[in-house]
Every structure is written in C-alpha cells, then in structure tokens.
Amino acid sequence: MAVKDYLRERFFPHLWCPGCGHGEVLGGLIRAIENLGLSKNEIVMVSGIGCSSRITGYVDFHTMHTIHGRALAFATGVKLARPELKIIVPMGDGDALAIGGNHFIHAARRNVDMTAIVMNNRIYGMTGGQFSPLSGSNISASTAPYRTIDKSFDVVELSKAAGATFVARATSYHAQQMTEVIEKAILHKGFSVVEVLTQCPTYFGRKNKIGDAPEMIKWFKDHTTPIGSKAKQEHPELIERGIFVQQEGPEYCEEYQKIVERAMKGRS
C-alpha cells in the first residue's frame, strides 16, 4: 500500500504550519507500519491534546483523540481490554511529560506493550509558543520573556529510569532512521519510547532565532550523533540518537493473563 492509503485524505492539507515536523513524523510512522505489513484494523492510535495529538485525525486506523496528557492512560485501558491490538500513542513534549508525566512513568514501569512516540519540539505550539519541560534553560518563549530558568527532562534517561524496555531517539533530519527505529519500537514486546526531535519553526525557531524549517532540521544534523560515536567523545554536548535500550522484560498483559489463569484455578 502507498503512504496515502493510510491517510484520511479528505482532511488534507493538514492543519500543521508550513515546515512543522509533525507531518514528517506522521510520514515516518506510516512508513514503519507499511513496512511491517500491519493491517489497519489491528492498530489503535491514541493521542492527547496539542498540535502533535491531532495526528490521530489523519490516519485510517481506530483513532482516539482524548484529553490533555492522559493518552497513555486511555491506551492502557484499550490494550488491557484487547491485548491483540497494536497500540501507538503519539504525544507532544508537554502532553507527554508535563501534564502527562505521571502516566508516562507509570506506563513505562508497567511495561504495557505499546509504543509511545514523543514528538519533541520543545514548545507548546497549539497555545502559541509557551515553554515546555523539554525546552531547557535559556530559551525564549511567550511565557518566558526573560528566557527560561527551567531545566529540561532527558526523555531517554527518564524512560530508562522508569523501566521502559525499549528507548530510542531519532530526529526529523534523519528520516530514514526515524522510520527504522519506529518499526523496531512497534515490533518490541513491551513499553517502547521513541523520542523524535522535531521542529516548530513557527514558535520555537522564530523566538530563538534558529531560522526557518530547513535551518532547524539541519540543526539536528549538526547537533546529534549516533550513540557511542567518536564525535560524542570529542564533543560531549552532542545529543545521541539511536536505540538506547532494547531488552526483554515481563509484559503487563501477559503477566495479567497468568493471574487470570491462577484465579480461574482457584489459587491465589
């Protein structure tokens, strides 16, 4: 199937700004699903609120556009109710890790088999460019006219610490790798996190004078490096990309099934 066969074409062109990275992540996600040969009926996509969360409206799967920050909680319900379904949860950085931070770490801790994609553009776009917990310090935003003093979460470290069994980082510059990483994340049995560094030219780029969309994408080329590269040793400030964690762990639905079997036999 072609990429467009997965889209609800009547809603295009989509609502994202010119040069917004979210469309590219959508493309990467669909190519991953296409490469894996998944049927549209077996995929449930659950999102919260924000620019990135509008992604669910554009794809021809079972889609649920929920409330701000809670997508993983809804998704946990869907998955536990129907473990045979593939659950993909695209989230923005504020959605996933500010208002949704608690659900994020607990989903990782439980190791429910689903894929969280954090579309990290370091800003709240839908509301007009406020700083997020992933903006980091010294960033200009509409709610940080004197620049941010807040430190940023490291999505990878946070996910690892919370117990995610698959953790990866990709960027919108490295489009091919993004698709490959998402494929592996979907195939992974357990809670998988893919952070995609992506650009918000309208708010983050403009306010922080990084330039237009092409310039912002190139920034990811210049400021990231593969995990464990020589460049990282020489320039520790570079952001690593690739798969950080890929390990087996007891998956929540399977573990719960064991409880069901025990309970049905009358043992506690």
């Binding site: 009926n41 556009h65 929920t66 909680a73 946990t76 319900g77 536990l80 129907r82 379904l85 607990h106």
Partner: protein, 382 residues
C-alpha cells in the same frame, strides 16, 4: 434450591451487582470509603477472565475504563470525593464522546480531604455539574443493599442504552454497613447489552448518527469499522467540526437524550404518600432515618409520607411536583446544606413549604434530628 442470601457491605453489594450486570473491566485507585470495591474486584474479576487495573491515580483510572469500553467491555471505576474531583475532565470526555461507563462515588465529608471515614451527601451537585460545559448526566443512588444491587445493575443498563456515563452516588454509611442481600438468580434481572452496529464491513459506519429511536449503535475498537473518537465537537463520523449547525445539534443531542427522558429515567420509592400531609424527601442512607420517622409517626396517626429518590439526575421534577401537590409541608432529609432541597424547591408549586432536615457534622442523620425539624414545622417547639 434456596435463595442465595449474602451478608455483606454495601460496597460488596455494588460489586456483586456490577459482576451480575456483566462488568469485565475495572480500573481504580485506593480511596476511602470506596476501596473495598477495588479490593473485591481485584479478587473476583480475574476469576471470570476480566481485568482489574490499579492505576496511578483517579484520572488514569477513568481514562483506562473509557478506553476499555471502546473495545466493547462493560466498565466501572469507583472513588470518593477527592478522586471524583480528579475524574471530572475525563467524565466530560465520556459525555462528549458518548462512551458507556459507570462511575461510583462513595461520598464522604468534604470539601478537600474533609473527613474520609465519615458520611456525607455533599457530592450531589458535583455529580451534576462537576465537569465543565452544558451537558446532561444520570446519577443514581440507593439506601439499602438490595437497592444498591438493583440500582447498580440499572446503572450499567442505562449507560449502555444511552451511551452515557452513569454516576452511582453512594455514601459511607451504605457502603460500609453490613446487611443481607438476596442475590437475584441469573436471568432474573434484565440486562442491557451493548448495541452494536449492523453495518457491514466496507459500508460507511457513522458512529454518531442516531437511529430513529435515538440510539447510537457502536462498533468495537479493533473491529471492521475504523472511526475517530474525540472530545472536540464532532460530526456524525466523529471528526472535529466548528460548524455552528453541528455544534448546536451535538449539544442539543447530548442534553436532550437524557433531559427529555427525565420521567422515564426517574427511579423512586413511595411510602405512605397517598394521604400524606407532610412529605419527607430523601435518598441514600438518610432515607433510612426518614423511613423510620414516617413509620413511627404513622403508628401515632400522623399523616407522614416518604418519597425516596433513587434517580437524582436528571432530577425527577415531575414526580416530585406531583407527589408534593397539596401537601402542607415538604421536608428534604439529606446530609449536606440542601443540595437536593434546591432542586425540590424549583420543582414544587409552593417552594415556601419546603424545609430542610440535615446534618453536616459528619454524623449520620438520626430520626431524632428529623423529628426536631418536624416539631418546629408543626409548631410544637423543640
């Protein structure tokens, strides 16, 4: 074979009823005085292949059951005041997206942490208006375990029938009190199952296009119809719309589907109302004390009656108005500062004859408390 009689807590009666109604997915977070519901379901659900989830908070709990409901499960969560407050946004989502689910609020003293282990009925208006925006809601309650059972089954039935969240407003006294429950036999109480669409694969399915009878057949997530569910104002396909015509029609639909059926949805019990000069109106555990007063005064020849409300929302205004017509006084017995009394005053012909017998000190309202008010009304002094 003899009847299956159990001696149990109100919370357990709720659990038995939920399982009887077909509950197979529960998510919750511990909170007094509702926790026994979670504890019993953690034990019972896996025995029937159902799922019990202890989530990270009440927000996640209600979100999880809404997600599970979309796959075709019968779902419930239980909480108390503070947790119920946290659930309000997602409750509105279930209203907007028309997703069946049952939410139990075992009321305790509030506001805030209040008095967790003591009784109150202070969440009546929160059940009605806790979530933002115009909407309608069903909230039910009961005063004894047999009724807790019946009304819990009813909650699941109404939830499926009208594709709406249904709130069960119990209170600490009913929840923790132990009394007998005669378990209905399987099949004895009618159950409403999910209405699923008959639209075939490949044919356009409209998740939000009502049938002629107003009902909206559903299609399970994971099935052959892929559609969108959103908390945004949406069209009949479930896709966001800001078209004024669509916005108006959706809001009207969400409100009318319940408010226009207020009489159909009214569940209540009548005690000695035919010739009553003074009518007590009560609900939940307060109704037990109210009934005691009525029965005792009847023996002395006083013409007292009790209207026990089981549907609190939509408020059964016609029932209240009809039953109270021509009475000398109406006394609303409740454990809050008059939340149901306000609705009663709006419903009756003579609001000036409506009085309140209440307690708000976390102590269960007794017959003596009610009698004190009656004496004042009757001009007998305290």
């Amino acid at each position: 074979m003899g009847k299956n009689v159990k001696f149990l807590q109100g919370n357990e009666a709720c659990v038995e009823a939920a399982l009887y109604a077909g509950l197979d997915f529960y998510a919750g977070y511990p909170i007094t005085p509702s926790t026994e519901i979670a504890e019993h379901l953690a034990y019972r659900l896996p025995q029937i292949g159902g799922k019990f989830l202890q989530m990270e908070d009440e927000i996640a709990s209600i979100c999880a059951i809404i997600g599970a409901s979309l796959t075709g499960r019968k779902v419930m969560t239980a909480t108390s005041g503070p947790g119920f407050s946290l659930m309000q946004e997602a409750l509105g989502y279930a209203v907007m997206a028309e997703i069946p689910c049952v939410i139990v609020d075992v009321q305790r003293g509030g506001p805030s942490t209040g008095i967790p282990t003591h009784v109150s009925q202070g969440d009546v208006n929160q059940a009605r208006w806790g979530t933002h925006g115009d909407h309608a809601i069903i909230a039910l309650t009961a005063s004894n375990h047999q009724d807790v059972f019946a009304i819990t089954v009813e909650a699941f039935n109404l939830s499926e029938t009208y594709r709406t969240p249904v709130i069960l407003l119990f209170d600490e006294v009913v929840a923790h009190m132990r009394e007998r429950l005669v378990m209905p036999e399987p099949g004895e109480v009618q159950l409403v199952e999910r209405l699923r669409t008959s639209v075939k694969e490949g044919v356009d399915y409209h998740p939000y296009l009502p049938r002629e009878d107003g009902r909206l057949p559903m299609s399970d997530f994971g099935g052959v119809h892929r559609y969108n569910v959103t908390g945004l104002v949406h069209d009949m396909w479930g896709f966001p719309s800001t078209e004024p015509r669509v916005v108006h029609a959706l809001l009207r639909h969400l409100v009318d589907k319940l408010e226009n059926r207020t009489n159909e949805l009214a569940r209540f019990k009548e005690f000695f109302l035919e010739d009553a000069e003074i009518i007590l109106i009560s609900y939940g555990s307060s109704a037990r004390s109210a009934l005691h007063v009525v029965e005792e005064r009847r023996q002395r020849g006083e013409r007292l009656g009790l209207l026990e409300l089981q549907t609190l929302w939509p408020f059964p205004r016609d029932v209240v108005r009809n039953r109270c017509a021509g009475t000398k006084a109406v006394v609303v017995v409740e454990m809050n500062m008059g939340q149901v009394m306000q609705s009663v005053k709006l419903a009756v012909e003579h609001p000036e004859r409506v009085f309140l017998a209440n307690r708000i000190d976390s102590v269960f309202i007794t017959p003596a408390d009610i009698i004190n008010i009656l004496r004042i009304i009757q001009g007998k002094g305290v």
